[in-house]
């Protein structure tokens, strides 16, 4: 039964991450390779507040969300002015810079040693230390994020954002400030990714910068491209498929230390094949072609 909860938590965390990137990519048309850093910022902020300063879980989570929103907005201001290729390259550069700061600023983030002993959440008087309760909490949070993403997609803001994605010149001609929409979408998307980070930190009880590197960012991109972008079904489908797939790989008799590399190879191949043959993903409405 613990195995089921472990899979459920994995699917929920990546569903949240997929939904966050969908806000930027599926609704906003911005291919971001730096969402792993927002995931990491959320995890690091809440972990440091919980472990070093003994804040309560709710306060650390809120602080992590606000900090990542702010950082996301600053990055958005720098980066949303670029077109297409330059945008992706800039987000790649952001990924390298932020990951490097998390890994090397040892006095603040404990650098390569990582942060250990991160406690499970205690909200009001409920303790979520057992995996069953934690899975329940994660599932509820995921549902809330899903509702939020769904509401954004169907709101006037969401419709205008999709219009900016499809043809930003036409949208500007109708009086909509395209750059403004992109910036807010990117910042909100960063904030949502940090929620996953907060949950992951408490789940794993140890984090370091290697969990938030480019491979992770590529995986989040895989979730959205393989599952489908532009709606709230796609990223969730992507999370289900891409979390359950390595479980099937366990049946192949290979040594343990190549499983991480093999997973990356499979995800990369899936991504290339999807972009070649089915750019809309499993159930997406926005094609990255």
């Amino acid at each position: 039964m613990t195995y089921f909860y472990y899979l459920l938590i994995g699917i929920c965390l990546y569903a949240i991450l997929g939904l966050s990137l969908n806000l930027a990519l599926g609704y906003g048309g911005m291919v971001s390779l730096c969402h792993a850093t927002f995931y990491g910022l959320g995890a690091y902020t809440s972990s440091l507040l919980l472990v070093k300063y003994h804040w309560s879980f709710f306060a650390s989570a809120a602080a992590a969300l606000l900090l990542t929103l702010a950082v996301g907005y600053v990055i958005a201001i720098t980066v949303t002015g670029f077109e297409g290729d330059s945008f992706v390259l800039a987000t790649l550069a952001v990924q390298v810079v932020v990951n490097s700061i998390l890994n090397n600023w040892t006095s603040v983030t404990f650098g390569p040693y990582g942060i250990s002993g991160i406690p499970r959440p205690t909200i009001l008087y409920w303790e979520f230390s057992s995996i069953r309760r934690f899975a329940g909490l994660t599932a509820i949070v995921t549902l809330l994020v899903w509702l939020f993403a769904w509401r954004i997609g169907n709101s006037p803001y969401g419709r205008t954002l999709k219009a900016v994605r499809d043809d930003h010149i036409a949208a500007s001609s109708l009086g909509k400030n395209a750059v403004d929409f992109r910036r807010t979408a990117f910042a909100v998307s960063a904030g949502v990714a940090s929620i996953a980070g907060v949950l992951y930190a408490s789940y794993a009880s140890y984090i370091d910068a290697t969990s938030f590197d480019l491979n992770e960012g590529l995986f989040i991109l895989c979730l959205v491209i393989i599952g489908g972008a532009g709606n709230v079904r796609g990223p969730v489908m992507g999370a289900i498929v891409l979390v359950l797939l390595p479980e099937a790989l366990r049946l192949i008799p290979i040594t343990a230390n190549v499983t991480a590399n093999l997973r990356e190879v499979v995800y990369g191949l899936l991504l290339i094949l999807m972009l070649r043959y089915r750019p809309s993903g499993i159930s997406g409405t926005y094609k990255l072609d």
């Binding site: 297409g84 992706v88 090397n104 190879v265």
Partner: protein, 293 residues
């Protein structure tokens, strides 16, 4: 301050290897119209091939070098045939091609790591007499590397500016539709660009392998450095990326001297964002009419 000169010298030598990488990247990027993130994968392939040829098989260095260049060039041609050309035929956007390239990088590097392991390896080839210039020490592998880089870039410049094939490459880079209508075999020229660019990356990998060894994870940094060098130096002049690469090498030397090597990649990437923001055409760009961009 004297240690500063040592870091500067090291940076210049690194810049020589980066120059090869950057020129190859610019050639591929302009001619084949792909943002070749897998350039880093080619770098890794060449390094691993060179290592395998030298250590377990025991080839002499020059033969191993040629072998590694051949392997890398074939890999480049394979990438063009298997990934880029089908996407281009489908009229995929540059964005889709770029993401495919990044995914290709992940596939190649992780496949190599599955076979050979993730750790860096040294080739134990150094240890020959070094050159002393005042307080600065340059190892023989550094000097050889700089010389090779200079010669190869010179050959590339001659090829690009003085030969017919080079002119064809520049024509395809400039306007491939017009080139097709004039009978230029565009697909073959693109494959040639990928082969030549990959060969240049391979030479850079070999120079670095002889100096510091082979690291399967270094391919990503190689790609970032190529991209930064091209953006800083600009791709309008044929040797613009060379200038950019030397600047990046020197900057990395400066960062290592003042802080620590661990901040090199972060500073390089910040420079990338700064240049994309402030001067995307590069430092050595020529002024052009608005319609020519």
């Amino acid at each position: 301050m004297s240690e500063g000169y040592q870091f500067l010298a090291n940076g210049l030598c690194k810049g020589a290897a980066y120059a090869l990488l950057a020129v190859g990247f610019a050639l591929i990027s302009a001619t084949a119209r792909v943002f070749h993130a897998a350039h880093g994968a080619i770098y890794t392939i060449a390094g691993c091939a060179f290592y395998v040829l030298v250590v377990p098989i025991g080839c002499p260095i020059i033969l191993a070098g040629l072998g590694a260049v051949l392997v890398a060039a074939s890999a480049g041609a394979a990438m063009e045939a298997l990934v880029y050309r089908p996407l281009r035929r489908r009229s995929a956007s540059t964005l889709a091609i770029m993401i495919s390239s990044v995914a290709l990088y992940a596939v190649v590097v992780n496949s190599l790591a599955m076979i050979g392991g993730n750790q860096a390896r040294d080739l134990h080839l150094s240890g020959r007499p070094a050159l002393h210039l005042g307080n600065v020490i340059l190892s023989s592998s550094q000097i050889t590397g700089c010389t090779i880089s200079l010669v190869v870039i010179g050959i590339y410049w001659l090829f690009s500016q003085k030969t017919r094939l080079g002119a064809l490459c520049r024509a395809v880079a400039d306007n491939d539709l017009l080139a097709t209508s004039l009978g230029v075999p565009v697909e073959r020229v693109r494959t040639l660009a990928l082969v030549a660019g990959s060969a240049l990356a391979a030479i850079a990998a070999i120079i670095t392998a002889v100096d510091v060894g082979v690291d399967p994870q270094a391919g990503f940094q190689a790609f970032i450095v190529s991209a930064v060098a091209c953006i800083i130096g600009g791709v309008q002049r044929p040797l613009g990326p060379v200038g950019g690469a030397i600047l990046v090498g020197v900057l990395q030397g400066l960062v290592s001297w003042r802080t620590s090597t661990k901040w090199e990649s972060a500073v390089t990437s910040t420079l990338l964002i700064a240049f994309l923001f402030a001067r995307p055409q590069g430092l050595f760009a020529m002024t052009r009419r608005v319609g020519e961009e």
